[in-house]
């Protein structure tokens, strides 16, 4: 690929300076939207681009915006910058290095759903990024790009950053809304979904950082242009966070539909120390383990193809596991994470992750009989389909797939 669309700082030095960003067309798209486009036209454009949410679920972004209830005001936009999935570090690079394109995306979204206030919700550890964004928001206000009556049009917009307090669950959109409201970060029952009942009970659009960073270019260059990247059902580009047993970990921007092999071997230069690749977790800790066969490595990374090898693309944080890793150890680590992060609101996840974590710890330390592996599998199965939110459902992916697909690691 010749040009980065999201990690543009890799092509354009100092694009994190407002003037440099503007020299490269920055905020033209926002101005164009506000001054020449009806809000619905912006939504239609994003619909036409086929952009899908990059926070994990891959939900069509334009369609989500169109769901905002127009009979209930005000509307809010909340950008999900919680980025807490283990192995995911793409939003951070975008916000640190290409912040204005990101903010412009938030602003266009706000215009599209006619929100006058938008929040950027960052995980607590991102406090430095938050203060950097605060400065940049102030710059935009000073430059008249944010504020009242923008560009002479009858549209006003303010942005606010909001820091979480260190809970993975606050990346789940409704828990995040609760957190912004000052409450305990626990997911709400859905439906109703945020576009009808969101922040402070008002219609709210929640999107991921990366999702929104696509928007300025879509508005500037059109839906057709955007569709020239990626696949038919998963158009566009994606930042893949590559980590684990890999020679060159990092973020790589590739079109959706690029294969695991292109990413892991082509960009990441394979696994180190002559080891062999054993498994892939394509969506961080929330992934099933894919057996790294040739077929799997040749699978395109898009929302439709990854399920065919028994996993989800999710946030596309690809963790590579080589043959030096004992899957039992991996499950122990993963389950420790979920036990630690379960919000505790619903029974199966609260109790199940606790139980599984204890079992996995014993299994990993080689102190367990086969019966305990079976028990772990059984506990994971009985969590399945019963949780209030996806965290609990995610917590069993690695367990079920690990035990099913890597039986040899569990024979002691």
């Amino acid at each position: 690929m010749t040009e980065h669309l999201l990690l543009r700082h890799r092509d354009i030095p100092n694009i994190d300076q407002l003037d440099i960003y503007q020299q490269h067309g920055g905020f033209d798209a926002f101005r164009k939207a506000v001054t020449t486009m009806q809000p619905d036209a912006v939504i239609d454009l994003v619909k036409a681009s086929g952009l899908r949410g990059r926070g994990g679920a891959g939900f069509p972004t334009g369609m989500k915006w169109a769901f905002t209830d127009k009979k209930n005001w005000p509307h809010y936009v909340v950008c999900n910058a919680d980025e807490s999935e283990p192995g995911t570090f793409k939003d951070r690079e975008i916000m640190e290095r290409n912040p204005f394109q990101f903010l412009e995306g938030v602003m266009i979204t706000a215009y599209a759903v006619q929100a006058n206030l938008a929040y950027v919700y960052l995980r607590g550890e991102f406090w430095q990024i938050a203060s950097q964004l605060d400065r940049q928001i102030a710059e935009l206000e000073a430059a008249g790009i944010l504020g009242d009556k923008l560009f002479g049009a009858d549209y006003s917009l303010r942005l606010r950053t909001h820091l979480g307090a260190g809970a993975y669950i606050c990346g789940e959109e409704t828990a995040m809304l609760e957190s912004i409201e000052g409450k305990l970060g626990q997911p709400r029952l859905r439906p109703p979904f945020p576009p009808s009942f969101g922040l402070f009970g008002k219609p709210t659009v929640v999107n991921n950082v990366e999702t929104l960073t696509n928007v300025p270019l879509i508005v500037a260059r059109g839906a057709e242009w955007y569709r020239s990247f990626g696949t038919d059902k998963s158009p566009g580009v994606k930042v893949f966070s590559l980590s684990g047993c890999i020679n060159r970990p990092g973020n790589y921007e590739l079109p959706l539909g690029a294969t695991f092999r292109e990413l892991i071997v082509g960009r990441g230069l394979g696994v180190p120390f002559g080891h062999k690749i054993k498994a892939i977790m394509p969506a961080g800790a929330s992934s099933s383990l894919i057996v790294a066969t040739d077929e799997a490595l040749n699978t395109p990374m898009d929302y439709e193809s990854v399920p065919k090898v028994g996993a989800q693309l999710g946030s596309a944080s690809v963790i590579v596991i080589d043959d030096s890793v004992d899957i039992r150890w991996l499950l122990d680590k993963t389950l420790h994470f979920f036990k630690h992060e379960s919000c505790g609101k619903c029974t199966p996840c609260r109790e199940g992750t606790y139980w599984m974590s204890h079992l996995a710890e014993r299994i990993a330390s080689d102190h367990a009989a086969q019966a305990e592996v079976d028990l772990l599998y059984s506990v994971a199965s009985q969590i399945k389909g019963k949780c209030l939110c996806a965290l609990g459902e995610f917590s069993i992916e690695a367990v079920l797939s690990g035990i099913e697909r890597f039986k040899e690691d569990f024979v002691s």
């Binding site: 626990q186 036990k339 505790g344 619903c346 029974t347 609260r350 606790y354 139980w355 009985q382 019963k386």
Partner: protein
Amino acid sequence: MTKLVSLTIDGKQVTVPEGTLFVDAAKRVGIDIPVFCYHPKMEPVGMCRMCLVDVGRPMIDRATGQPVMDENGAPKIQFGAKLDTACTTPVSEGMVVIGASDKVKAARKDIVEFILTSHPLDCPVCDKGGECPLQNLTMAYGPGETRFLYDDKLHLAKQVPLGELIYLDRERCIQCGRCVRFQDEIVDDPVIGFFNRGRSLEIVTHSDPGFDSVFSGNTTDICPVGALTTADFRFGARPWELKSTSSICSQCPVGCNITFNVRREAASGGKTVIKRVMPRQNETVNEIWICDKGRFGYHYTESDDRLTTPLIRKNGELTPASWDEALGLVASRFSAAGEGLLTLGSGRLSNEDLFNLRQLTEGVKGKAALYTHMAGGDLTAQVGVAPGTDFGEMGKGTAILVAASDLYEEAPIWFLRIKQAAERGATLIVANARPTKLEAYASHVIRYRYGAEAETIAAMTVDRGPTTVAGHPSSVADASKAFAEAENAVILFGSDGLGLEGSQALSAACANLLVATRHVGRANNGLVGVWSRANDQGAWDMGLRPLTVDRRPELQSAKAIYVVAADPFGDDPGLLATFNLQPATFLVVQDLFLTETARRADVVLPAQAFTEREGAYTSGERRVQRFYPAAPARPDTWPDFAITAQIAQKMGSILEGRVPAAVFTQIAATVAAYAGLSYRKLAETNDQWPSVGSGVRRKGLYFSGTAYENKQGVGIHLPLSPTPLPPVNMQSFHLQGEGLLAVPVTCLYDRGQTVYPSALLHQRIGEVWVALHPADAERLGVVANSRVSLTLGGAEFDATARLDESVPQGVALIPRSMGIPINGPEAVEIRAGERVVL
């Protein structure tokens, strides 16, 4: 009307209003879906996942919008991939729900197993054991054996006081959130909450004192495990050892239906004692709730200080005597007094007691008076709320005016019911001289100065008045318009800052307003007195009337005074000082305790507590309700009506003194409003939703909690007296004088005889206090929480000064029954106490 939809639940056809939650729809046709977090009085949260069911919906052809049919012509049903939570799923037409399949059973077993992995299973020592939803649902749906390794079990603190009244056992908590939601949603005292996350999630209190809510005890009823227990009952008894008796709370005019649980126990020397008070369901009165005063305030009935034998003054000393001697003496002196007999009874007595009191007194042409600081019980009999009234039904279209009452303190359950009515859309108008908690839900707030209560309400009658309250953009004019235009309207008047004189004026103004706006004679319309005692309304109905405002002339001229369930000289020592109780005046006191008045009596007669006998009270809404004997009576005591009857007998007239039902029959024959009533009628019940915990079948235990089923009577709402109400002459009433004005206010927990013996409540009762505006305090040199001395009615008192911005300037609030006698507004002098210099 809401649309009805039909669905099939486990093969049963059900038709319910659209939007009904599936869990409720099932319950209504007798199908139990197990729940832990769901509670029929609260919004669903879907947390515990116990209620999973298989939900199928008719397949709809996308193209035609018509249901797809199978080969038999029946609609094809499509089931979801996952099970759904019945508590969060509203029913829809044609739905097919399966709760009895193997898949669903397995899911329930799974959830119970998860809960049990971190449950201590200490049922043998758990207060909830025997009435525990978790126990029952484990028996019904849970696994028989554990697969969880004991070493992995989490151990947590087991005796965490959330406050001094409610204890938390952290190990037993299943994080259902019912307690938190009750406090947030139902009563809006959000003083407890969840803290931390995952398996560390715990209930904590945010208030100081801990769990600062007068409704806290209810959380122990709805907690589905033994995690929350009351300090009163914990480790007290096992539920299956308890016998239950229906009763009525005697602490305020709401008349909450309660159940006394009693046990005969070695710990009490083989006596049968009350172990706890539980709410008894009456959806039109208290639903399934009671306040903490009702729950914890009963201990006075079992106090060791109770009178146990008649006393006669001999050689200046009160000396134990036989009933025969005491009654004989009383009878002869009463006969001698004739029309000089003054009987003073209070609303603590039952209707039967009051009826007999009046019969006895009028038999000799004496005067039977009501001991009260409130007027208007005659007005409520004419323009009161009519039968069919239910605060639980009020919403849009109803205006509720609360005048001069701090309902949260005066009648907590009415506070709750009216708050909820306002949340359902009723127009709530709160008129008071100072802000009260209820104002948070009001659409109109009227602020007057103390003394202008009646004037303000009268202004509403003529639709004018400029009074506005900062922060509330409405005026008396707005409020009166809203009131007049409402389809239904109710007024509750209390006694915040009022004495008898002010109350006379206020009650008259309220009655006039209702008549003028035609809000009389219909259900959900009319006047309600927020009386200070449970049966004040009954006392008015039985014909007792207050003394004059001054009281002294009547007391002075009486030849014999018969004080029953009242303590006039204790409440007002000044009364005794300012008039001369003639040595010739024969004073008889009939009570539970040796009150200040009793200490001065010639004869003291020991009565029984309401827990030891039968009777009927009439609530502020004018609902007549029966209570039953719960605990055995103290030996050698009698119920008040019986004592009165025995005195009468010795005076040569016959009053019913053995069977309260027979007294009640006489009431029905004599008092027009009570015509046709009988104990049997009062014992009738009706169908109530939601089904509750106790009772033979205990079918509702897991659903609504441990509130008791109403099996012994929901009571009967009295009709209004047919005499039309002429416009009431409203005596003008003005406060005079300069300087600081002391006004009486009611606080729920006070030092009254029927509260203070509950040692459990002492921390809430606290020191005697007086509340001042900070500006007045500064002027007087009074520091917050310091001791002050005050001169009131010629006497000196000490108190702790509370500084409070919400107290109007120039006013000192003095709590009733806390140690400083105050009958009505009067001038007060306050001086900063001596500072201790170190």
